[in-house]
Symmetry: C2
Subunit: 175 residues, 2 copies
């Protein structure tokens, strides 16, 4: 049976903390794994566990995202699909990563700060509001809305299945 | 015909600037490419071109090597052989990388500072001696000799072919 060769790509979820990025990214990752694709999952929290010294100032965030983007591009170059979820609040560093990758799909999870705070089981938004956490995106640090995202996910209004379907449709170009 | 499955590994060249790391690493990379292995080449100078903001203090070097090591380990995990060449002067960060990888082969290129300076066509050693370059390993910054390298290359006494043969012999465990 003829099987078309999949092109690797980088699916890059960006959005506020607790917007639903990781949940969706996990769904996509599981789907691709079950289909026997070569796929790697990169997540902000996980990567920061390996590098606890990385801070949250604009400069540190930019450098962090560029480095993680380089990692994603190297995996992609070697035929591995990458499913990434990072707050990645700055347009410039997201565009830097797009430039490194061959097939970069930017997925903007557009959940509002109010809704994100409701979903925040760890109470980080509250702590940021009370000044206990500095440089917290959405409260005391900016989030630059993507200018030309490839996919926009409205996790407040659309059910997860619908978001997932939109992403699958887009991925089909490469599979 | 039966072909044994190659296990991925990370071949990590460490040594002073101009010790001959990159030349040897290039030879190994070309050899593996010709044999149709999946292989990626990581080199200090190349990576720093992408991230020009990375400095040369102990702290910055340590973080840099750990991040590059993470990249190497992710590639290895996905079945890609990695051929790396970095001065990587500190034992702790090299051992951190060893811990991240499954099959880590540390290759210590033991060329002396005197010999390295003779080979230094860009005159960096001279500039470091004259104080024009700070934190230059071998002159005004330390190099910690690997305690338990997997391979030691004496590029001063042995011909490149002999060094190459030693490395090939070691790689055979995984191929």
């Amino acid at each position: 049976m003829f099987k078309r060769k999949t092109k690797a790509f980088v699916l890059w979820f960006t959005g506020l903390p607790c917007s639903g990025k990781s949940t969706l990214a996990d769904m996509v990752y599981d789907f691709l794994m079950k289909k026997d694709h070569k796929v790697e999952r990169l997540d902000g929290d996980t990567v920061r566990t390996v590098f606890p010294e990385t801070g949250f100032t604009k400069e540190e965030r930019d450098e962090h995202i560029k480095r993680v983007g380089y990692l994603a591009s190297m995996l992609e170059k070697n035929g591995i699909i990458v499913v990434s979820s990072f707050v990645s609040p700055y347009e410039e560093s997201r565009e830097f990563v797009r430039g490194l990758c061959r097939n970069f799909i930017e997925v903007y999870v557009s959940t509002s700060a109010e809704e994100c705070e409701k979903r925040d089981v760890k109470g980080m938004y509250k702590k940021a509001r009370e000044g206990e956490i500095e440089n917290f995106t959405g409260i005391n640090d900016p989030y630059e809305i993507p200018r030309n995202p490839d996919i926009v996910i409205d996790a407040e209004k659309e059910p997860a299945e619908e978001s997932f379907r939109k992403i699958k449709k887009h991925m089909r170009r490469y599979m």
